[in-house]
Symmetry: C2
Subunit: 547 residues, 2 copies
């Protein structure tokens, strides 16, 4: 009996760059065929990139996607003599549009130069960061087809996260192999949840499961790849790389065998988060046509971590650090900033803001809070001037804890097109800094982040001897309350009952609610938790609800 040699290809498509994505797919199909693969599966919406959001409601875009798939089918057939089945994801026009939504989220099986089979995603995620019920029309029927004597079924991503629907029919089709096309964004610990779902599917439907994910950053999402093949005994036969393009090849039979050289176990947590942040930043820079980034280096931990992430993402030679001391900046801060830049090997310049602040103080009567904000805004103006003059992308260095309580100056330290650690709470910023230094040591490299930036008490340095804890609780307490209020959606009553001080809880909640307008105007940045600020958490600005 002829065998299926399956190639699971995780590509990094660019949203909207249909031609470029198709060219990439064709190249990987050739590669897979050269390795003897005859069934080649890609991730969800690999033709258009994902998520396409309201592009799905533009008829011309959906039509262009469909035409590209037909072109791809013909190109594969012309280029490769062997009999291949190639499965790709893309939008298609729905027969019964809903008015707003006109398209399906589909998978097409390309055989013999044509679209031989097509599947439309049934379960449309419309929670968290997803708006698929908004933008797609649901399909209803499972796709099952015979290939090389085996029964193959096809479903898409959310279909295996919900009960019922086409997935429930997989077993009744005597499916040998189920292909799941995914656009599943990274979150901490999501790898374990995915594997559990895949095993549940394999067990309940008595099928082998090939779970193929996208990889790459798209705005606030990072697709981590980590594609998995699980056999009927629930064993992980192989898992593809995380955070990079890859191809996993498996000979599919009763005892499926890994052909390519791949691991079967998951990666370390901090390694995963660090690399998610690096990839999210790199792809935002590259896919938006930037070549370099600029950021303020204060000597503090946040800017140190962001500068290190940026150096890992695009190379230190493309990172421009600016120290912008005021009268309140301590000597050690400036020293820490300079040391960081030396360790990384990035560009470093100093532009004092004293004379700029003075010019404003001559023109305006300022309250104390206005005077503090003014310093942060002078720095914002400098960074944007550097960006406008040299074409750098400006990075803003706020962390999730600060964003939560509004501990930042809008149009000041918040300026920038991308916020690499906006979903990283302060406690985790420290942990990642220590992890990155240890990792460097383990590689025989010099730890990049100055010990002093990690160990000193955090301060905005906008007035004499200021520390963050003048106005905020200790970060471990703050982060614990934020986790309950924001991520777990607990009420103030529940949080207080869990043992936290009532006054602190109410203060924190009040700060979070009042900062909504600032967060709305903030830069996007990579989501790494179950509840990121942004489209993951949609709350009114005008909102009198307490607790």
């Amino acid at each position: 009996m002829p065998k299926i040699r399956l190639a699971m290809v995780q590509t990094n498509p660019v949203v909207g760059a249909i031609d470029q994505n198709v060219t990439g797919i064709l190249a990987r199909v050739r590669e897979a065929a050269d390795a003897g693969a005859n069934l080649i599966v890609f991730g969800e919406m690999c033709v258009t990139g994902y998520p396409i959001e309201d592009l799905a409601t533009r008829r011309s875009f959906v039509e262009a996607s469909e035409q590209a798939v037909e072109r791809l089918a013909a190109l594969i057939h012309t280029a490769i003599p062997e009999e291949l089945a190639v499965v790709v994801g893309h939008p298609t026009l729905a027969q019964a549009p809903s008015g707003w939504a006109i398209a399906h989220n589909s998978a097409s099986v390309l055989i013999g130069g044509k679209v031989a089979h097509r599947y439309h995603k049934h379960h449309l995620p419309n929670y968290s960061v997803f708006d698929e019920y908004r933008n797609f029309v649901a399909g209803n029927d499972l796709l099952s087809f015979q290939f090389k004597g085996q029964n193959v079924s096809v479903v898409i991503c959310e279909d295996i996260w919900q009960e019922g629907g086409p997935v429930a029919a997989i077993r009744s089709k005597n499916t040998d192999l189920t292909l799941v096309l995914n656009g599943s964004p990274f979150e901490s610990d999501k790898d374990d949840r995915r594997l559990a779902l895949i095993r549940k599917l394999a067990l309940s439907q008595q099928t082998k499961v090939a779970y193929t994910n996208l990889v790459g950053g798209q705005d606030d999402l990072v697709f981590d790849g980590d594609s998995l093949f699980v056999d009927k005994n629930l064993n992980v036969v192989g898992r593809a790389s995380q955070f990079e393009e890859d191809m996993l090849i498996v000979d599919v039979s009763e005892t499926s065998t890994l052909v390519s050289d791949h691991r079967v176990t998951r990666s370390d947590d901090n390694w995963q988060v660090w690399n998610a942040l690096v990839l999210g930043l790199r792809d935002y820079v590259v896919k938006n046509g930037f070549k370099s980034v600029v950021l303020g280096l204060s000597g503090g931990i946040d800017s140190a971590v962001v500068a290190t992430l940026a150096s890992d993402a695009i190379g230190a030679a493309n990172v421009y650090g600016v120290s912008m001391p005021s009268r309140y900046s301590s000597v050690h801060s400036m020293g820490d900033a300079e040391l960081l830049a030396q360790n990384l090997g990035c560009d470093y310049q100093t532009i004092p803001i004293e004379s700029l602040v003075a010019a404003f103080e001559e023109s305006l009567e300022l309250s104390p809070i206005a005077a503090e904000n003014l310093q942060a805004r002078m720095r914002g103006v400098i960074l944007m001037a550097e960006s406008n003059t040299h074409g750098h992308l400006t990075l803003t260095t706020g962390n999730k804890s600060e964003l939560a309580v509004g501990y930042s100056t809008i149009y000041g330290d918040s300026v920038g097109g991308f916020a690499p650690i906006k979903d990283v709470e302060k406690s985790l910023v420290w942990e990642l800094a220590r992890w990155r230094n240890s990792w460097a040591e383990a590689q025989g490299q010099k730890p990049p982040i100055p010990e002093n930036s990690i160990s000193k008490p955090p301060s905005a340095e906008l007035r004499p001897d200021q520390t963050d804890q003048d106005s905020l609780p200790e970060y471990d307490v703050l982060d614990a309350i934020l986790d309950r209020y924001v991520e777990k959606r607990q009420s103030s009553v529940e949080i207080i009952q869990a043992g936290y001080d009532a006054k602190i809880v109410e203060k924190v909640i009040n700060l979070v609610d009042r900062a909504e307008w600032k967060r709305r105007q903030g830069a996007i940045g990579p989501k790494i938790t179950g509840m990121a600020f942004g489209r993951d958490r949609r709350l009114p600005i005008t909102n009198k609800h307490k607790g």
Copy 2:
């Protein structure tokens, strides 16, 4: 036979202010009862305000809403001896939550101190600005009940905008009167579309229809009221005020009679748009606890219109205008700004930016574009300093055409918490200015907006002799292309086929796509069209699609 005297009450609830909203409802119930009403109906989600967005996923919030309704039922029963039925909208916990969504969007009929009947909205809008499928669980069954010998049915808003569902059962229940609770935001011409739907419902289901809407601004939405009663012959028996709280009272019988003093015809288009903008601005200010606003007055048309809107919204005494001339500001511009302030009677001060710009130019090497942006940013810093020092809300004055093509400086003229004309295209800004001046004249008042601000060529005045048309097409052409690309979602091919110059079309589309990151960081402002920038139009920033 006892008669139904129906009071349709359009209140202006504040999102999250449950106690305050309930107090308001109780007061209006007393008023209605004093006027002899026995059936009293309010708008959708009148208890919590609308839309509550992800607050619907906070269990404590939904529970508090349900408890408030039970309290309200008891309070009405205690306070008012007559037999009343009061219909209010609010969220309730669903028996079968979907995981993310835990609540229904419900209407409760309060009789005899209890919730006598309850309805759960069936059609959950999840397009345009709405995310109801995200946040609510759909109900399935129509509510019909007998009151004063008549059959009354209850549905909610979107239920009458879609085919099928509970609405289709209204006729089979021999319904005399259908109550529709609405949270229907204003758009130009939406009044005509609503009336057509109401008449379609009255005709197909052979029922009188009482369409009760909310009123008030909530973030980017303006609920315009304009509640309508339509009889079985499809006549408008009465329609409530637009843009203010009101109560429409009708004796419901075969020949329904208007009891309160109300119009039956619709209002003038420009009057509607102007008042929508005024209400949206006023409610953002008031509901967020501001007392005053600050804005830059350049002498141009946009800031003139925004200052006039602000004066109409909260009184000129609470409007602070700042003229911030640079070396490129013309004498006539400063004169026009001052004249506007005099006409309105608002505060006016001048803060030149020359010395501030000079201080930066000494510290930094600036490219020409950076030097232009720097001026706008100096103004932004001044406005935010005024805001921080005096507690004013900063208004940003960008119009929809500028926002579309990114013709603004981020962190410069874009600073502010609210953008009153962000959904008003430039052509309409001029039209509204002329309309407002004529309206003043018709009232025997002095037209507020200087003729010169309306008639002169628009200019950002960031370099010598600059006009907008140096880098943009004429605004009538620009607005026509934007209408096709943004609102009608046409492709570049379609727009060019309609007769527009290909180079201009491609330039405009490219500008629109590239400005997405700036729009994402922009202030919210009232939606008045079918496609506003913001949650109405969700597109990726990273997006290589052309046309």
